[in-house]
Amino acid sequence: MAATIVIVDDEPDILDLLKLILTEKTPHKILTTTDPRQALEWCQSQKADVLISDLRMPELEGIELLKIIQQIDPNLPIILITAYGTIESAVEAMRHKAFDYIAKPFRKEQILLTIDKALKWRQEQLGG
């Protein structure tokens, strides 16, 4: 089943790499942006199934984005991307009910696996 995945990161490198990987390896619709507000808008208007967000973004912190999403759609799994060695932030993210986190640098299989798990979780939440 093709799902819709929204990705937001202030680093264009990460967006380019993820888009390339996910377009090649999955049937999903991939929307990418450096603007957290755009991501938020897409999550609603495009009926996103998974949101992948950077933890640290200059315009809106990942945790803040997480809190907003929690209120709008608590069943939307959010995968946070953290920088290597920022384990405290990852713990904080999980405390705020992120679905999972993944530390840079990561292998492409890792993100594919995490997305699969997130999609299954969402289906369960929606009673599918």
């Binding site: 380019d16 640098p105 299989e109």
Partner: protein, 854 residues
């Protein structure tokens, strides 16, 4: 440091004179080893990541290269403490490499941030993100290499942003890049036209008007006349990551009155459909495509052209290729006529090997009384004359070598020769090469041959329906997977190149922009075929065999096998390219043999060289400390053993029986607990130390080719000295056996919480794959022996701690056996199965590896 604590706590018997100095030096040595290990570990990690399966960003590269630089500096500092500043010469070498690395990962430069304009005399690569790669390189050429370039100034990326801001265009344009759908050319063309029009009518901020006026006046004052300008685009990612060859506009012969309309035209050129397709194809849709523009005084060129410092079609190694024609440059790079071709040998002496002079009936000139360029006929007698004089060709060759060395890779250089005066460099960027894929082959017999001539622009074989382009409008209907057939190599055709299966062109050179793009997109391409548009008709199914310069009617299936189009690779993305460029200054090892005369600081080209040099000199220093010591203070003795180990011991206290005063000791004098245990394993009766390992031809070839790759390595000092620094409970054992390097650092006592073994192993003589297999063999065995193991490439790091004394001794014994057995085993590790076999054999105690697979 943990080790010194041991000494304090364990009450090493106080030695007499020199002990304090020795301890201090030993501490430096130990710090150096730690820094060396830390640096090698990060290097191995970056190499693994560069292979192409990871997601990471520029920040990661910055952090990790920063760490390697820090550790490398520590190695240098500790070495200088150890040797009384004998290697101060390493510091400038290190600083030079550091600058190169920092240039590659340059963050925004604080002093230039916010600048809208900068004179060329102040531009270099530190301003990369303000002025774009093309301008930054030109600045380096002018201000660091001091080669002749035109004078001028730069409008920065910030100036572009300010133009957008002034006209409220920023948000609109950012969104446009996201929406642009490369598949629908009609729609794309229409949308891009609308955006271009917006930009072309933009209002220029007053500050920019003023700054340009002032810079132009200064330039006029310097030159003594009011020059016409060449406005050259310099995109932030152009050349740096991708060529964008010919995709952005260059405006030549611009007067001051036409400056801003021309500037806007250059900016708007990034909204051409060709550019948008290029961006999407390269997966660059998230980039801020801010553009800087270089404004250079026009060179009234008598002749101009391009110089490639390697043959772009890769068919001849060590050859430089120059294409030149009369007048201004576009004639050559646009492929409008066949230019002269000069081939140079690139060696200590640059020599002209060959010149092919073409008929050059027209030239472009800059009209003094009008904007733009003017095409005029060349007088008859000059048409067949060489465009370049011999001295000019050789001078260009020397510039080429200089630029290639400076920028660290083969270059693609544009130049002009003024009517009066010497050659001037207009730009230099990395050369994209295409390599031959197959050996020349006879024509296949089952398909009619349409043509068998031309020059290779990009190697490869592909088939598809032919599509002959006669007008630019034809491009809109170019079918996916068709073969582009055209009269000229116009850069406009770049628009459809990503969708083309192959390309065949009547006139044009392998150095034209379109040829560069063909190589970048790996589209098999032939140029200069003269007759392609006459013999090929639109709609015909044809096969282009660029490898052999042939075109067949129909699909030549025999040639097409194994030529499937590959999707874009992760490893070709910008961040990977940056990582590889950075690693060029970090990982290659040029210093291999300490016995050679070029084993000195000046010969260090990379951080790996510096670390290797520092490490080797530190070990040498530790030896000489031992040698210099008074007999009464004899810290160092040689171990008497029939094994080819050349092993020296330095005793920190209680490691060797003290009543002996010979220049050597026998193994039974060793009282160091960890050394005794390790030695027991190394000399295990079933472990063989005799002779080289038996290997098959492939293994031997793998060693041979590696030795060739590192020409300075010699077999003469195959068994270098091994150093063991010991005390009653401590051992630091460093050996370089052949091409690999192993260290054991261990502490063994009755207090089990103090006990540890740390083992590291790196290198080998065989190729990368075999070395990695041996590393995995070691890793698997060590895991079975309860070590915590990390294997990265050919690096093995293993640790074990807090076992009781007896178990620690057993583990060291087994480690000794393993080190002996792993010797040269990289050469026999031909595949996974063999590696698994050796692992089992070792664990079963078959140390002689009887019945080993062949």
């Amino acid at each position: 440091m943990k080790l010194l604590d041991f000494f304090k706590r364990k009450k090493v018997p106080p030695a007499k004179i020199g002990e304090e100095t020795f301890k201090r030096k030993y501490q430096s040595f130990k710090n150096l080893l730690d820094a060396n290990n830390a640096a090698l570990e990060v290097m191995a990690r970056l190499e693994t990541i560069a292979e192409g399966d990871f997601v990471f960003d520029l920040q990661y590269i910055r952090t990790k290269t920063g760490l390697i630089l820090e550790k490398c500096k520590e190695v240098i500092d500790e070495l200088n403490v150890l040797t009384g500043n004998r290697y101060a010469g390493l510091v400038p070498v290190f600083e030079a490499v550091k600058t190169q690395i920092q240039n590659e990962v340059a963050p925004r430069s604080p002093q230039a941030e916010g600048a809208w304009t900068i004179p060329l005399s102040q531009v270099d690569r530190r301003l990369l993100w303000e002025v774009g790669s093309k301008n930054a390189n030109l600045g380096e050429i002018r201000n660091r290499l001091h080669l002749p370039t035109p004078d001028g100034f730069v409008l920065t990326a910030e100036a572009y942003r300010q133009v957008l801001a002034e006209n409220n265009l920023r948000a609109d344009l950012a969104g446009f890049f996201q929406e642009a759908a490369p598949g629908n050319l009609d729609e794309l063309a229409e949308k891009s036209r609308a955006r271009r029009d917006l930009l072309l009518q933009a209002k220029i901020p007053a500050r920019l008007l003023e700054e340009v006026k002032q810079l132009y006046d200064e330039l006029s004052a310097t030159l003594g006349y009011q020059p016409r300008l060449a406005l050259r685009s310099s995109g932030l990612y152009e050349d740096q990551q991708f060529s964008f060859a010919g995709q952005f506009l260059t405006k030549l012969n611009v007067s001051l009155s036409q400056f801003f309309p021309s500037y806007l035209e250059v900016l708007a050129s990034q909204f051409s459909p060709a550019c948008l397709v290029y961006l999407a194809q390269k997966g660059l849709s998230h980039r801020e495509m801010a553009m800087s523009v270089g404004c250079l005084a026009m060179v009234p060129a008598r002749a101009s052209g391009v110089l490639f410092t390697e043959d772009p079609t890769g068919s001849q190694e060590g050859r430089m290729v120059i294409h030149a024609a009369w007048g201004l440059g576009p004639t050559v790079v646009e492929g409008a006529l066949n230019p002269d071709c000069y081939i140079l040998a690139k060696g200590r002496e640059i020599t002209l090997l060959e010149q092919r002079i073409s008929l050059k009936p027209v030239r472009l000139t800059a009209a003094a009384d009008a904007e733009g360029l003017h095409q005029e006929p060349v007088p008859d007698r000059e048409q067949k004359q060489p465009a370049l004089a011999r001295e000019e060709i050789l001078l260009l060759g020397r510039y080429g070598v200089q630029l290639e060395e400076y920028f660290g890779s083969p270059q693609d250089i544009e130049f002009a020769v003024p009517a009066k005066g010497q050659v001037v460099i207009l730009q230099s960027r990395p050369l994209i090469q295409s390599r031959p894929e197959a050996f020349p082959a006879p024509p296949v017999s089952d398909q009619p041959l349409l043509l068998d001539r031309g020059t290779v622009a990009c190697f490869g074989v592909a088939a598809g329906p032919a599509y002959v382009i006669t007008r630019d409008e034809d491009l809109v209907h170019f079918p996916e997977g068709a073969v582009l057939v055209a009269r000229h190599t116009s850069a406009h055709y770049g628009l459809v190149l990503p969708r083309a299966a192959a390309m065949v062109v009547d006139i044009g050179s392998a150095t034209s922009h379109l040829a560069i793009l063909a190589r970048e997109f790996k589209v098999p391409a032939l140029v200069d075929t003269e007759i392609a548009t006459q013999v090929i008709k639109t709609g015909q199914e044809i096969t282009v065999d660029a490898n052999n310069q042939r075109v067949y009617l129909g699909r030549a299936e025999a040639l097409l096998r194994g030529q499937a189009q590959k999707p874009p690779l992760l490893s070709e993305m910008p961040v990977y390219q940056t990582l590889r460029r950075v690693l060029r200054w970090i990982t290659p090892l040029n210093l291999t043999d300490p016995k050679l005369s070029d084993f000195n600081p000046e010969a260090c080209k990379t951080l790996h060289d510096i670390i290797r040099f520092g490490h080797q000199m530190a070990i040498a220093e530790m030896f000489s400390l031992g040698e210099k010591a008074d007999q009464e203070e004899a810290y160092m003795v040689r171990l008497k053993t029939p094994l080819p180990l050349n092993l020296y011991l330095i005793d920190l206290g209680g490691g060797i029986q003290r009543n002996r005063r010979e220049p050597y000791v026998t193994p039974d004098a060793i009282t160091s607990l960890p050394m005794r245990a390790l030695w027991k394993g190394i000399t295990h009766p079933k472990v063989s130390w005799a002779g080289p390992v038996a290997m098959n031809a492939k293994g031997l070839y793998s060693v041979f080719s590696r030795s060739l790759a590192a020409p300075s390595s010699q077999q003469s000092e195959f068994w270098l000295r091994t150093l063991a620094i010991v005390s009653k409970n401590y051992l630091n054992f460093s050996s370089r056996l052949g091409y690999h390097f192993a260290t054991v650092d261990a502490y063994v006592s009755e207090v089990r919480t103090d006990n540890y073994i740390s083992f590291r192993f790196k290198g080998g003589a065989a190729d990368e794959y075999r070395r990695a297999l041996r590393a995995r063999f070691l890793g698997q065995v060590l895991k079975e022996l309860d070590f915590e193991v990390e294997v990265t490439g050919d690096l093995v790091v293993a640790r074990l701690a807090r076992y009781p004394q007896q178990l620690m001794e057993e583990k060291l014994d087994l480690l000794g056996r393993l080190m002996a057995c792993a010797r040269q085993k990289d050469m026999v590790m031909s595949d996974e199965k063999v590696m698994e076999w050796y692992t089992r054999a070792f664990l079963e105690g078959n140390y002689g590896f009887e019945g080993e697979p062949r």
